[in-house]
């Protein structure tokens, strides 16, 4: 399994042709207290870069973009009632959705963990 990051602070963990998507620790720290998350429905076809989810903190609403193309397998239902999971565990239990990748090679354009850490350190 490998984890990749976007410059927009999404992550995708790839296991075979299944990806799990969320937002990074850095993103949640910038957003502050998260009060609402809207995740995509199963079956939705998405292209890399589409806005597929919404995350709202006390102070702002943000779009979440899909880091890869494919078909949504499921959204994280737990976030409907406990959006604070994204603050508590953004790169674990606070995942947003799972997706079946249509083009596994797309992850090659993303950053790995160390490249993303380097990217964030310069922000």
């Amino acid at each position: 399994m490998s984890r990749y990051y976007t410059e927009d602070h999404e992550w995708v963990e790839v296991d075979g042709d299944i990806g799990t998507v969320g937002i990074s620790e850095y993103a949640q720290s910038q957003l502050g207290d998260i009060v609402f998350v809207e995740t995509p429905d199963a079956g939705k076809e998405v292209s890399k870069g589409d806005d597929v989810a919404v995350v709202e903190s006390v102070k702002a609403a943000s779009d979440v973009y899909s880091p890869v193309s494919g078909t949504v397998l499921e959204g994280n239902d737990a976030l409907a009632d406990t959006p604070e999971l994204v603050n508590e565990d953004p790169e674990g239990d606070g995942w947003f959705f799972k997706i079946t990748l249509s083009d596994a090679s797309e992850v090659e354009g993303l950053m790995n963990e160390s490249a993303y850490a380097e990217f964030v350190s310069k922000l």
Binding site: D33, E38, V58, A61, S62, Y65
Partner: protein
Amino acid sequence: MSQQVQDQELSGDPEGGEGEPPLALLPLDAWHRARGGRMVPFAGYEMPVQYEGIMAEHLWTREHAGLFDVSHMGQLIFSGEGVEAALEALMPADIAAAKAGHPVYSMLLAENGGILDDLMLTRRDDGSIYMVVNGACKWDDIAHFREHLPDEIEINYLDEHALLALQGPKAAVVLARLIPGVDALVFMQGGLFQWQGHDLWISRSGYTGEDGFEISVPTGAVEALADAIVAAPEAKPIGLGARDSLRLEADLPLYGHDLDTETTPVSASLGFALKKRRREEGGFPGYERIMAERETGPILKRVGLIVDGRQPVREGAAVLDAEGSEVGRVTSGGFAPTVQKPIAMAYVPVAQSVVGTKITLVQRGKIHTAEVVQMPFVPHRYVRKGA
């Protein structure tokens, strides 16, 4: 991930656009940064939006005591022969009847009855008037006063004074430890106090719905005073983010958002500020329109909404009628930390302003439903009898 909508406090910088002068620094700028304050542009200043987090700071203020730096606000002293009548010509307050030392809420009105700013004014024992106006409006306000007040009225801008607010149920015990006697003040009463040789003007008032104090302090003493206050275990510094959510829950409108030149005291549901003698005698800008609106009702009225579900509906969302036409707008909104629901202030047609009315809203193409509720969303806890 990218931000689509910024909080109104974060984007609320009418003076900070391109070609504007650089942002000013608060007297406590370094103090805020040293305490982890995240600084953002607001009202022409770099101001702390949060320290540990808006939710935690909001709840702390409702439970304990929060220290706010509101030194961006304009503190003005008006003096001279006939100052009361001269100011009454620009606003609907009954300044002549105001008890010395007791702050009064009022609004600077345009000729058409629109609101130029909202403010607090206090008549002092020496006959002068102390006024606090919004930071984002203060330069325009001063220009307006200079243009409209007679030459014999002197306007003194207190740029050597900072303004702190200590708010919350523990505010009185914290402040009285430093400044004995402040807890004898009651809500909307002020007085002159001494602290370490400095004169402080302190009133029991604020912008959170909680008990608390506003403290005008010479800039040379503000850091020591802020240190002394947050040395108390009950007190923490609180940023603009929580100030916004606290005031929204308390039904306290924010100028530039819930109030502007398109709104009047009647449409803004601030009729209490139209004092009886002034309603009878007139003599303030917009008098005829405002009295007509009082008689027949304004077209739109400011109300409070609780939004169904969990998603916040923020400033700029449209209010729709049954046909889907836009008939009003949300002027403030967000997730309310104490209420634990999304709440909003909105201007809606008078027919839809009755408590219990269902309201349809649209934000970024998505329909939300809401209900008109009685404000404040969280009961005020003002101390009307001295401790």
